[in-house]
């Protein structure tokens, strides 16, 4: 009886997950071209728990820091070859502003997932823009040589933030493992403390979990699995909602970010670079404006068509007789 109830519960939860994307996709008119990769979606999942948002923002900060360091090296190489690097410097300066935005982001904010998606999307765009411009100024051989050099340089400079991320991940996993131990009825949590203090590995903790499973009866196993699935389902629902939330009003948020960045250009001394930054940001603001107008026009057309159909003027089945 208990087994049947658990199975029914699992089926109900599975049906709920299957239906969620359909429900959320119903009104996607306000969505736009924001592409949220599978990898980013996975990253969003961990933001559901405890210090997950903090970890993701730290990881993003690390990635941006790494690219700023790489960008500076690329610019030095190009300057030594007497190439004009103004545009690259303007992109890199914007990346520095972006890094500050990531550092200032509140991991506990309700919209932390949306902030993460937005700032990561900006980081990807700026890196791509820099890469394209840099590769126009470098020969293939020079670019290959630089890539090798950058890989060797990065480890030492990122050590501090790497350590901070590792510690945060351990703290996050410990929190999660305590929940798992509770579900499985493991009272001795000393192995989790050892893992947190780097005196045991994740594999050691997993062995304790596997051993516990082996000693359980079939019913206990099924019940534990159902509870674990429930946790996983909660995470997936959170992830789907976060993706949909990030897609809504993406243009408006981008417009706000870019306008704020324009207001922060006073920090930079190089006039030429500052002018280039202003030009690039304004170009993107115009681009957003064009896209918004195009979207509004599409919506207007659709509304007009709908009205025509309701009034019997459409070309469809309900149209002219």
């Amino acid at each position: 009886m208990k087994k049947a109830t658990t199975l029914l519960l699992m089926l109900a939860v599975a049906a709920l997950i299957a239906a969620l994307p359909i429900v959320l996709a119903e009104d996607n008119e306000t969505n736009d071209d924001l592409n949220i990769s599978e990898e980013t979606q996975q990253e969003l999942g961990a933001m559901h728990y405890g210090i997950g948002p903090e970890i993701r923002l730290l990881e993003l900060e690390k990635a941006i820091t790494k690219n700023i360091l790489h960008g500076e090296t690329v610019i030095d190489v190009l300057k030594n070859a007497s190439k004009n690097t103004t545009e690259l410097e303007s992109i890199l300066s914007e990346m520095k502003l972006l890094k500050t935005e990531v550092q200032n982001a509140d991991p506990e904010a309700d919209n932390a997932t949306t902030i993460f998606v937005d700032l990561k999307a900006d980081a990807i765009d700026l890196s791509q823009e820099f890469r394209t411009k840099a590769n126009e100024l470098l020969t293939v051989a020079e670019a290959n040589q630089l890539r090798l050099r950058l890989k060797e340089d990065e480890k030492e400079e990122l050590k501090e933030i790497n350590d901070e991320i590792k510690d945060s991940i351990k703290a996050f996993n410990s929190e999660q493992l305590r929940t798992v131990f509770e579900i499985l009825g493991i009272n001795d949590t000393s192995i989790i403390d050892k893992y947190l203090n780097s005196n045991a590995t994740k594999a050691d903790v997993m062995k304790v979990i596997t051993d516990k499973f082996s000693s359980m009866t079939s019913e206990q196993k099924i019940e534990a699995v159902a509870k674990l699935k429930e946790e996983s389902v909660k995470k997936n629902i959170f992830k789907i909602k976060a993706v949909e939330k990030a897609k809504l009003n993406h243009f408006a948020r981008k417009e706000t970010r870019l306008t704020e960045r324009l207001g922060n250009l006073g920090k930079f001394n190089n006039t030429e670079v500052k002018e280039k930054m202003t030009e690039r940001i304004q170009d993107r603001l115009h681009d957003i404006n064009d896209k918004e107008n195009a979207m509004l026009s599409r919506l207007q057309n659709r509304t007009n068509k709908g009205n025509d159909s309701e009034n019997g003027n459409g070309n469809g089945r309900g149209g002219k007789e």
Partner: protein, 65 residues
């Protein structure tokens, strides 16, 4: 005289049914054990991949060159 083959036939059928049932029970037990191992394996994998964070991950934003 005519009844003997019938009794023998019934005995053979009874033995066959008993054998099948026994084999079925053994197969069921094996299946249950296999299922339990699979459930356990799935659960442990689920904890590792779904609930815990990788210790060495990077957010991918693309290279600069």
């Amino acid at each position: 005289m005519k009844i003997t083959p019938l009794i023998v036939l019934l005995l053979v059928v009874a033995v066959a049914i008993t054998g099948c049932t026994k084999q079925g029970t053994t197969e069921d037990n094996t299946k249950t054990a296999t299922n339990e191992t699979a459930v356990q394996g799935d659960a442990v994998a689920e904890i590792d991949s779904s609930l815990l964070a990788e210790e060495n991950t990077d957010t991918e934003i693309g290279e600069m060159v």
